[in-house]
Point group: C2
Chain length 369, copies 2
């Protein structure tokens, strides 16, 4: 054959990229497993025992299709948040929901605002619809509310992304500041408020106002609920916004197992509280390890601690590489200024032991000692 | 607020639709469960016991993200089909892969060819990218290869869909006829060959030619493998075509559980063979029930039998409704000529007993007796 089916101009212009290289891929390259898996902000504490038992008991039922309406899980999520089921849509993780939001609100060429160094998968999905990313630098390791607002206004952006608490820096805004930001947004700009880490911080999230048609709040089972592998998240918004997801979502995208696990996870809030406490203790432990090594842990409202290595990005990269070579899987921010840091997820005690043991060697190697 | 964020013109023009209403939604409306779930072409025989055991054993591991490369499952699928891993992409069921193919090959306004009455979810995804559907009527209850080819040429379609074996009619084409069709396609037209039922028919599928850049073969774990609930399928194609999926796919879309279950399912081909035999027996049983009631079962290469009720669509709809009201969940084709039929999935013996018991009453009611 001489010719081949052409991609659409939009897709044809895109690079073939992977937003994140998984730890499994690194393990395959290295030829050996990590001893501490504390890089992907997973919950090493796992899901609730009730959730595990439920998943085990329904494994044999997976011959049945999932409920395309996600009815039970929508009910449970709505009840959990005190909203109506008409205010909830379930998707294949926040990633899957971000892909839909990109298609819904960003036409080719539209400006879409986010922070420089924020969640790369959002950027990937915006590129996928031909949107034009406008990035705003972090200020003092926080996403800049004023900066985002100014960019939205200047570029007349139909869509803006904000994560609170933030990844990769672990920082956050208080509810009253977020409310001010939301109220200042143009009515025609949709805010995606990514609250993946929302259960884990010291501060209350802003109340949910489902009468407001320009905010979509996103939640996930991947972090505090310890179910990253099931690929399930949900969005909360005004009813018409939720109905609009029906226009393009993959109705059979969320597995039957995920829907069942999600319902059970929401039902076990005692377990969630215990995880939140363990995460807070883990953050203190990581901070202590950092300080013991002369590094500066940043305050965190998430299940990770971002650590300022006190030098430039090249130095922090060496620290990262030193830890990886010592079988400690972590990640780091890659955008200048933020890139002076490494990012360490709360893990089990024995994993943080390994981190504590290996950090001095990694630092010494990075310093060329 | 006076205004709201506008949807993109493309998405804004779409209806809020659900390609399929699930049996769970019908059960909620009815207020009682079905006694026989033989309408969604699921495998009532379930997944392999080995798969069930594996899923149970890894439930507690679902705190870890899925491997975004789907490495193990791609390896297993590639080995199973005798192709390279570079020829396989894994997705959230064939539905998820169809959504990507629509975005990759159909720009707004492009003609996309399918059969009138074929898989509605493909049509849903084409509408989602602003494609212009061109439909070709079935001929003698089969998708018309000559008709599809003529439509592709006339409309210079970049994309054409064909399912073999076919849903909802259960019909199929022999490999040599399909090869002729593929070779006659314009080089610039991508063929999506949906082989969801490919393991279940009496005839061999055409050999896979991964040197050909205009054919994507799609397989699923939802049918013969009995894993509809896990949402996992894969596509096989020339390497560059597979690489192009990386441009837009949701890399974390397929759950960790699904990837593990898929590997185990492919490893248990003995179980698959036993299911194929049970499905064939079930088809014969359904055909016998149809004939005993004076109806005409159509030949089937799938896990369902489409039954010609011998009258028009209104009559067959009454038969369907009569069965639903008798707690038997089935479906039916909805497009004229095909709509004279009902569609009955192979179920467990006791489910087919219930179908056999209830069909006479449903027919009598439909005839107004």
């Amino acid at each position: 054959m001489r010719q081949r089916p052409p991609l659409t101009p939009l897709v044809g212009a895109l690079p073939s990229t992977v937003p994140f290289v998984g730890p499994e891929a690194q393990e395959r390259d290295r030829g050996r497993p990590f001893r501490a898996r504390i890089g992907a902000n997973e919950s090493s504490f796992g899901p609730s025992p009730r959730v595990i038992a439920r998943m085990e008991s329904v494994a044999r039922d997976q011959w049945m299709y999932c409920d395309p309406d996600n009815y039970d899980l929508k009910q449970a999520a709505a009840r959990h948040l005190g909203v109506g089921t008409e205010n909830v849509v379930v998707g294949e993780g926040i990633d899957g929901l971000l892909s839909l939001v990109a298609r819904m609100y960003a036409a080719p060429g539209d400006a879409v605002v986010t922070s420089l160094g924020a969640y790369p998968t959002f950027n990937f999905h915006i590129a996928g619809v031909g949107g034009r990313l406008v990035t705003v630098p972090y200020e003092s390791d926080r996403e800049s509310l004023d900066g985002l607002l100014a960019a939205v206004r200047k570029d007349k952006a139909p869509l803006v992304y904000l994560s609170n608490p933030d990844n990769p820096m672990g920082s956050w805004w208080e509810a009253n500041e977020l409310i001010r930001f939301i109220e200042a947004l143009p009515e025609t700009t949709m805010l995606v408020l990514d609250e993946a880490y929302g259960e884990l911080g010291p501060s209350a999230l802003p109340p949910i106002d489902i009468s407001r048609p320009n905010v979509i709040r996103m939640r996930t089972f991947s972090k505090a609920y310890g179910l990253a592998g099931i690929r399930c998240g949900y969005a909360v918004a005004e009813a018409q916004v939720i109905r609009d997801f029906e226009k393009i979502r993959n109705h059979y995208g969320v597995s039957r197992m995920a829907q069942i696990a999600g319902v059970e996870a929401l039902a076990d809030q005692d377990y969630l509280r215990s995880v939140v406490a363990r995460v807070a203790a883990g953050r203190r432990r990581i901070a202590g390890i950092a300080e013991a090594n002369g590094l500066k842990p940043l305050p965190s409202a998430t299940n990770f601690v971002t650590i300022d290595c006190g030098d430039d990005g090249a130095f922090a990269l060496k620290v990262l590489q030193g830890l990886l070579s010592r079988d400690v899987f972590i990640r780091k921010p890659m955008v200048p200024v933020l890139d002076r840091c490494i990012r360490v997820s709360v893990g089990l005690d024995h994993e943080l032991d390994i981190f504590a043991e290996e950090l001095p060697g990694a630092l010494a190697a990075a310093r060329g000692n």
